[in-house]
Symmetry: C2
Subunit: 338 residues, 2 copies
DNA sequence: CTGTTAGCGCCTTCAA
DNA sequence: TTGAAGGCGCTAACAG
């Protein structure tokens, strides 16, 4: 029951194992007859390449790994679906791993992946610590960051693909201003997240330049979930809520706000306007129809794969760069003129 | 920049590579001195085992793969989190893959995994076709099904761990009966899903035995999402809705029902009672508090890992069996006495 | 067109 | 306690 190898096939076919290898790889220089005979035997005996041996010999596998901070966030689930498609188009397989840059055992994960000689890694993270981590490993395996890093604070730039959070924040502020809002709140910015910080900063700066007042409510936890949004919103609603609009750090937070609003008998957008960020699929459902910023997940993933494979295949020393993709405002029904 | 190997270390240490191998594996028979020297050199030069080579030599890797029909379903996300923990406790790594039994390229995925000599596979599926697929591969790699198979229709039993759907359906029917409901609907059963079929069958049988009338609304799509639930519920609400309770095939469907209910200005549980199945975390949120059946995801995953590793490690021919874990009724606030 | 040989990095007897 | 040698399954360069 131990797996059949090319040697077995070679013996059965009465040829050498290199001939078998050649036919399996479609290398030229095998006569039609032997090729057919060999392929028949392979089928017949259920031969299956040992990818470990192949990768060992090649010095590299065809696996691209992506590291996600959580499977539970629908944003990532949607991104991975796209990622998978592009990676497969290019002839690679995707291996989904679960890990956060902040975890103490994150280096073990990297060691494991490098130990397996994965072709490359796409790291989903918006932690401040990710550039440091990446720089520690970038010499040993191609890595692309899906997320943003603090350009000012990072000496060596790392290859990254991300939404343009500054543009997003600005767009949101301008949109709310245009609708007549003058008192707004930014809900749920996470200190540890660079994306959140940029969004928040850009939003508040733009808003204030336009003469709006902005209240910022930080998210002290490490997660941006519906539940967290719910609790933050309750805080706002209990603590005299004078503002006419809320810009949530992301859609999940916004969904939590909607839940809390119902509890407080506040209707959206009649009592206040609400905006999110991410365009997770649930946000587009009827009865939700959240106005949000669409980060163009497909394009993000396409670029990330491109950027990674450029490094994998040509091992080019192309200057690592931060590629920004501007989001698009999606007007749905949670914002109205005031 | 090519990775440093045991040979490199051996040369630097002035020993043979087998000595290095021995110290790396903690094998006995290496003097303290050489051991320390070698370990120091490894650290110093950033040595990292080549797991491909090790696995090739061992004939087996330490990767356990799990195949999910979708990352987007929160049920799976929650399960994988637990799975990951148990797998790591046992010294293995988890590789998450995305694939449905119904997909045409599912065998490619299996070939890929077997090609990589993964230690085992946990297949998440409730498709009718999964036993057939498993039987095709079970001789080549340990597989455990997370889901149910049709015991009557399957000649050779496959190792499986699953919720007791029959018990669940019965419990739901009895619970609703106890609350005084006499006209109920079962919403969203998927033909292609064995779990759904069993739940539905058991629910309707029990209900009818108790003298209740049951209307069944099948889900014709392949997915059990909030959106699907929403559309099914609308169908019910438009088509004179006389029943006093709805049992949804799963929580996601139930959430869709809640969305639709709001649109129709129906309140839960005043206008009708609602039950789900799965206990996804979102269902426990305030303002949702869905009454549901908890499948005990942790226990399910613990058992699945146990069952798989039993086969991996002792390659025992233990009679493959279907392990059923009965769910628990979680009374929250979407059901009331009628 | 095909076989021989060497090597990928590691582990594991068998001798010394 | 250590080294030499062979093998895991496959690829590839070099002969024939």
């Amino acid at each position: 029951m131990s797996p059949v190898t090319i040697k077995d096939i070679a013996r059965l076919a009465g040829v050498s194992h290199s001939t078998v290898s050649r036919t399996l790889n479609g290398s030229p220089g095998v006569s039609e007859k032997t090729r057919d005979r060999i392929l028949a035997l392979c089928r017949q005996h259920g031969y299956q390449v040992n990818l470990l041996a192949r990768s060992l010999s090649a010095g590299r596998s065809d696996i691209i790994s992506c590291i996600l901070p959580g499977l539970d966030n629908p944003l990532f689930a949607e991104m991975v679906l796209n990622l998978e498609r592009y990676v497969q188009q290019r002839g690679y397989h995707i291996m989904v791993c679960h890990g956060r840059v902040e975890d103490s055992n994150i280096s073990q994960l990297f060691d494991f992946l490098i130990g397996h000689r994965v072709a490359g890694i796409i790291l989903f993270s918006s932690s401040r610590q990710s550039p440091e981590l990446i720089q520690r490993y970038i010499g040993r395996v191609p890595i692309v960051l899906q997320g943003v890093f603090d350009v000012a604070a990072t000496s060596i730039p790392v290859p990254a693909v991300t939404t343009d959070n500054l543009a997003g924040g600005r767009m949101a502020a301008e949109y709310l201003y245009k609708l007549g809002h003058r008192r707004v709140v930014y809900l749920g910015t996470r200190q540890s997240s660079v994306s959140h910080s940029l969004r928040c900063e850009s939003f508040t700066n733009t808003a204030r330049q336009l003469g709006m007042s902005v209240r910022v409510l930080p998210n002290e936890t490490l997660f941006s979930t519906i539940e967290v949004g719910y609790h933050l919103a309750k805080q706002i609603f209990l603590d005299d809520f004078q503002e006419t609009a809320i810009f949530a750090a992301c859609d999940s937070i916004a969904l939590g706000v909607m839940t809390a609003a119902k509890e407080f008998h506040l209707s959206i957008p009649q009592d206040f306007s609400l905006m999110g960020f991410d365009n997770i699929s649930y946000a587009s459902y009827p009865q939700i129809r959240l106005t949000t910023l669409d980060p163009h997940k497909k394009e993000l993933m396409e670029r990330a794969v491109e950027c990674l494979l450029e490094r994998v295949e040509s091992s080019s020393k192309r200057e690592p760069a931060l590629r920004l993709i501007p989001p698009t405002l999606l007007e749905r029904k949670t914002c109205s003129r005031v």
